[in-house]
Structure formats: C-alpha cells, structure tokens
Amino acid sequence: MMDALGLAVQLVLSGDPDLLEIVLLSLRVSLTATVVACLIGLPLGALVAVGRFTGRNAVLIVMNALMGLPPVVVGLLVYLHLSRSGPLGFLGLLYTPTAMIIAQTILIAPIVAALSRQVIEDLHAEYAEQFRSLCLTKLQTVQALLWDARYSLLTVGLAGFGRAVAEVGAVIIVGGNIDHLTRVMTTAIALETSKGDLGLALALGIILLVIALGVNAAVQSVRMTAVRQAYV
C-alpha cells in the first residue's frame, strides 16, 4: 500500500507523458459526457418536476430504475449499435473517445435527470405560487428553476461525473482500451491488474482518487461561496 502511494507520487512527479495522456483523456471523456448528460438530463428532470401529466409516475419509476444501469450493459448496447455490423456502424465511432462519451452519457443521464428532478421539485414547491402569480410560461418557469437551482444541480452533475470517471465496464467495451487512443484511468487500472502489476494499478487508482477529490473540492468551494450569498 505504501509502495503504491510512493509509486503514485513518483508517477505524478515524473510527469510521465503517457500518464498525462491517460488522465487528460479520462477527464475529457467523462467531463464531456457529464456536460451532454446535463444538457439532456436537466431539462428532462425539470419538465418531470414541473409537469403534471398522465404517466408521470411511470416516468419517475423508469428514471429512478435507470440510475442503476450496469455499465457493462450500457457498454454492450452501445457496442451493438456502433459496431460496423450495427445500425450506426457507418459512423465509424467504435473504439473512439466519442463512443466512450456516448456510453457514459447514457449511463449518467438518468442519474442527472432523476436527481435534478428531486432538486427542482423541492425548489418548485417554494416558487410555484409566486410564478403562477407572475404568469410565467412553463418554459420560463423551467428556465428560472434550472438557474436558481444551479448550485444544487452542480452537485448533481458531480454525482454524474463521479460515476462516469469511475466506471470501467462500458468504456472498455466501446473504447477497447487502445493505447494512446482510448485508454483511460479505469481501463489502464484494469489492464495493469490483469498484468499482475498490482502496485502500478493501485498507484493509478490513487491518482484517480486524487483527481476526484480535486474536482469535488473545487465544486464544494463554489458551493460555499454560493451558500454565503444565500444562492443555494
């Protein structure tokens, strides 16, 4: 364990370009997936939070259930679609970072939608009567709720990012763990583990953990500022 910690520090200090490439790809893929998942999940969550329509309960149940999608199932579904013999094979996306972004987006969009639905529903309970008095349209209501819940939704996005950056099942299938192309932190850890190099695997794991800590700390400090301004 201490050896792995030492190795992790040594890896970081050495500025190993391969390591840097892997870390940057991890961040690029998972951050992009998080942004796309938010673009899809936030409006969806807000609409379900504000909307009163038949089948709403069914949508809620499905949304909550999809939060538990196993990454490997998502990977398999995306593989079957992006495979050259699949319906979207002509796009040539399999074994690219784009395929990994797609898989992670599918994985975390339900998380973003379900969690943001809860956040926005709570805020809407506070705002609803005032908004009706102001005669806001549904679109204006949703926009205002999304904006006013922004700091809580940041945490929702973070939950999505955390799941994306930590999963290996989906990206290893659709990315292929190709060196210098689609190798990310988690697939590199899986590879080193399978090579029996447990120390290096653990060191990579520690670096991943530190990155996750850094992202969380950054978001937390933004939130603290917002709390001081009573914007949360």
Binding site: R132, A144, D148, Y151, A230
Partner: protein, 251 residues
C-alpha cells in the same frame, strides 16, 4: 396552468385589446376543500379606484379570497367578474405580494430583470424601480440576504414591474419594524394615487386606518361588513368588527 394567463401578451397589444377589469363584482362566492366550507356565499363589489383593506380574524378566509380574486385557485361556486372577465383570464393584469416574499436566488437587480424580461417589459426600468423602493444602492447584493423590510420592498418593486392594474397585498408588513411598515405603506399609497387598485389584507388596525378607502371585514368565511373607511372605524355596523376593533376574541 399556462391557460391561467391567457392575457399574458405584450403590454402594447394588451392595452389595445383590453376591456376594463374594474369595477369588480363578486356574487355568492363559495370555496370548499374536502367537504369543509372555507368561504361561504360572499357577495360584494369593488369600485374602480382606491384601496380596500381586507380585515378579519385568522381563518376568516382573507388570503384565500385574494387567491380566488387573483385567479390562482378556482371557486367551488359563485362568480367573480372583473368587468366582463373571469379571474383566470386577467391574472397577468394583477400582481400579488405575499406575506413572506419569495425571492429568486439571485441579486436584487436580477430579481427585477427576471420579471421585466419574462413579461416583455422595458429592461431599462429596473434602476428606476429599485430607486423607487429605496434599494438602488443594494442592486448588486444577493436578494436573499436582504432584511425583512428590504425583501418586502423588493417584492413590491417586482410586483410594480408588471404594471398591474390591481395590486393584492397579503399582510406584507406582518413582522416588520415600524419604519419598514411606513416605507411600504408609502410605496403602496403612491401606487394607489397613480390609479392602481389596491386590495390589502392586514391585521394592523392602525395600518388599516392609514390606508383604507373602504374596509371588507370577513368572519368565518362570510362578509361581516363592507363599509367606507370613514364609516367603519368610528362605528362598525357588525358585532364581529366591533369586537375585533375593541380587542375582544373573535372567531
């Protein structure tokens, strides 16, 4: 609920097509929740101008009456006629200030900007509105860190930003200090003098005396009396109002 705001159209277009919504005529108004009667057979008229103070003990149905008149809830029976309109058709021509202001999680200025933009009003009016309620110097501060009095003045500025023809106020000064109460009363009085119809719920008899053109006194979900201020305060006609003003228990 978007149908509630059928008259939500740009101001210019609205003025052209708008039929007058005053005077107001309420007949046999009733509201029941789960079999419990909350309002029962209210009938009254409001003139085209002035300030009506709505008074009565807790539970008399004052706040619910405001929401019915504003079109936020529908009556179980009876009619509310704003000129020839249903309340839900003219919600956008009213504004309501709640007892506890609901402010957006944004700056003071952004709270006004939001309403001006949403309602298609001139964005440049913001600074004048804030100065009008004495908040010009706090424009960039977080709205939810304002004091109670400041927050209510901001809510008032936001209500006025919509250019309402009728302004409902639901105990806006409850739990505020005397200076804040007077500041808000001054803003409301100014609006009244500009021709905005004021309907103001209060428990504060002094405030009612200062503001009222007429008083609508509710008790137990009914109109106990509706009198001109000059008649009401010296000699209320109803026993309930007499007891209330004398500080005796009224339910």
């Amino acid at each position: 609920m978007s149908d509630v705001c059928a008259s939500h159209v740009p101001a210019a277009a609205r003025t052209a097509q708008a039929a007058p919504i005053l005077p107001l005529s309420v007949r046999d108004l009733a509201l029941r929740f789960d079999g419990a009667t909350v309002l029962d057979g209210l009938s009254f008229d409001l003139s085209a101008t002035g300030c009506t103070m709505v008074m009565g003990p807790n539970g008399a149905g004052k706040s619910l009456l405001l929401k019915l008149l504003h079109g936020l809830i529908r009556p179980t029976a009876g009619t509310i006629a704003w000129g020839s309109h249903d309340p839900s058709a003219v919600t956008a021509r009213h504004a309501l200030v709640f007892q506890k202001p609901v402010l957006l999680r944004r700056s003071v200025a952004a709270n006004i900007d939001f309403v001006l933009k949403a309602r298609g009003k001139d964005a440049r009016r913001r600074d004048r509105l804030l100065d009008h309620v004495g908040l010009g110097h706090k424009a960039r501060q977080p709205a939810r860190l304002l004091s109670g009095g400041e927050a209510q003045r901001l809510a008032l500025a936001r209500a006025l930003a919509t250019d309402p023809e009728v302004l409902f106020l639901d105990e806006p000064t409850a739990s505020l200090d005397p200076a804040s109460v007077l500041a808000i009363e001054a803003i409301v009085a100014e609006a009244r003098n500009r021709g905005v119809r004021i309907v103001f719920v209060t428990h504060d008899t002094g405030q009612a005396r200062r503001m009222a053109d007429d008083v609508l006194f509710l008790q137990g979900g009914r109109v106990a009396e509706h009198s001109r201020a000059a008649d009401f305060f010296p000699a209320p006609r109803s026993q309930a109002a007499r007891d209330y003003l004398d500080g005796r228990i009224v339910v």
